[in-house]
Symmetry: C2
Subunit: 293 residues, 2 copies
């Protein structure tokens, strides 16, 4: 169990310095992000060699450059580095996200597994007693029950790798009761029962839980809800990406949370940074990917 982002960084450092392949790396913003994480990863930069060389000299980043003619070639070479075991992680550069993810999912040249791709956010919230994970706040628009099962499995797998013995997931809704007009409450019941039946291994799932019950023991006591997850959730499973995205951002902007995010379900953790990510968020995302190896 990790208490805060410093512990996540420590864990990442203990993994030892790994190689990260960067597809279409000729972006100053991306290279600056890598500079912040230079103690954690050694970059293999795929893309236009002249531009990359110029940027890394300016920034003072130590990295290898692998020349590629265009975004497409650069993406496939970065993927190949991971497939051949020459890189441990992969990061998107300035190639558009849909094109990049399509390449990741390519059956022959990609990093496809039998799992789905899903996004996992990690948040160090000052007012919470440990790290909080939200899924899926970045990728799957409106997952059905089957997809939620796979998304939850992806998240648990990472938490096991981070050293959690028995991670706890709350399936969020606005109420604790089951309501036929609120499919998220029915999915929550199904996921809870699946966990009881051992589908997720040594992990606890409870829901439907309103947000306050998931993270506040006091709220759970006042409402008389008994649950091993209530007040102590590690993972919040949201019903759609719009809900998860606002929730994670409110923790960052209003709750002072430190945050990072990665994409799970491929053969290697995938880092996607956004221009609007703070330098801190870039560092934590790379650290999160590394720690989850």
């Amino acid at each position: 169990m990790l208490k805060n982002m410093d512990e996540l960084l420590e864990l990442a450092k203990r993994r030892g310095k790994r190689r990260i392949a960067v597809a279409a790396a000729a972006s100053r913003n991306i290279l600056e992000g890598l500079k912040l994480a230079e103690d954690l990863v050694h970059p293999l930069l795929v893309g236009d060699p002249d531009t990359i060389k110029q940027y890394i000299d300016e920034i003072g980043l130590n990295a290898e450059i692998i020349g590629a003619r265009d975004m497409r070639e650069s993406t496939y070479w970065a993927l190949e580095l991971v497939r051949k075991g020459e890189a441990d992680l992969i990061m998107k550069g300035k190639v558009p996200t849909p094109d990049f993810l399509r390449a990741v999912l390519d059956k022959e040249k990609g990093l496809r597994t039998n799992r789905v791709l899903s996004h996992l956010t990690v948040l160090g919230v000052p007012r919470y007693h440990k790290l909080l994970f939200i899924t899926d706040a970045g990728m799957n628009i409106r997952p059905d029950l089957e997809m939620k099962t796979k998304i939850l499995r992806n998240a648990f797998e990472i938490l096991f790798r981070l050293g959690y013995e028995q991670p706890k997931a709350a399936v969020l809704a606005s109420i604790e009761q089951l309501h036929p007009d609120m499919p998220e409450t029915l999915d929550a019941a199904a996921l809870s029962k699946m966990a009881d039946r051992g589908v997720f291994g040594n992990a606890l799932v409870d829901g439907p839980l309103a947000f306050d019950l998931a993270i506040s023991r006091e709220s759970a006591e006042i409402k008389g809800v008994k649950s091993p997850v209530a007040g102590d959730a590690d993972i919040l499973l949201v019903h759609d990406v719009a809900a998860g995205n606002s929730l994670a951002k409110s923790m960052i902007y209003f709750g002072g949370a430190k945050a990072g995010g990665i994409i799970l379900g491929a053969k290697a953790p995938v880092v996607l940074l956004s221009r609007a990510d703070s330098p801190e968020q870039k560092l934590y995302s790379i650290a999160f990917a590394l720690a989850s190896l």
Copy 2:
């Protein structure tokens, strides 16, 4: 424009002390909530007179008691007090919420108007420069475009009454682009255009906006989104109640926000307190109802 909850309390006090009818008032928890607001409202307590008398003596609450035999009678008498102009506000006591709302919506004996009922949350978030309103985080499960229009109209009407000259609403989504698989982004575009055409009076609407763009000018600048609402939203319109509920609660529990909530669209503001509401939340909800008169 109100900067914080203290300004909302001040505004409520300036309305002068008003009468609040309480349906099925024989609840210690409810009466304690009213005690906190005794400077703001004079309670007309409908319900079992002996129990109410005992509680208000213990609590030291100054109020009128109107005897009623059961919850149903007590609800209808409370509604009648409002209809006859003998009370200005109405509050739910220990009658179940669905029964109470059904009575409020009763065509003959209720407080029905041609508007829909919707819930409006007010939040004083330390890290935001003014009060933030969320709708609908408590009542309408998954409103369609027509319902969203009515919900937004209800919210604007209250903000005009609170003295806002040109309230600004952000329609939340996870992205700023329109996406056919994300109906909330299409609804957002429609609502924005309706506002441009004057449907909501002197009010601004923009969306789809991700949460960070709605409340952070810096984020909007980084992403290059130009919008009179971005970074300065008064109202956040959410796509469903599960999203709104988690979002509001994360602001309360992780963002240290002071909060209150009322139901709009009836002939008088409706206060519904929950047992899990903090004393502060109870006070702010009553003050919010009073200020919105």
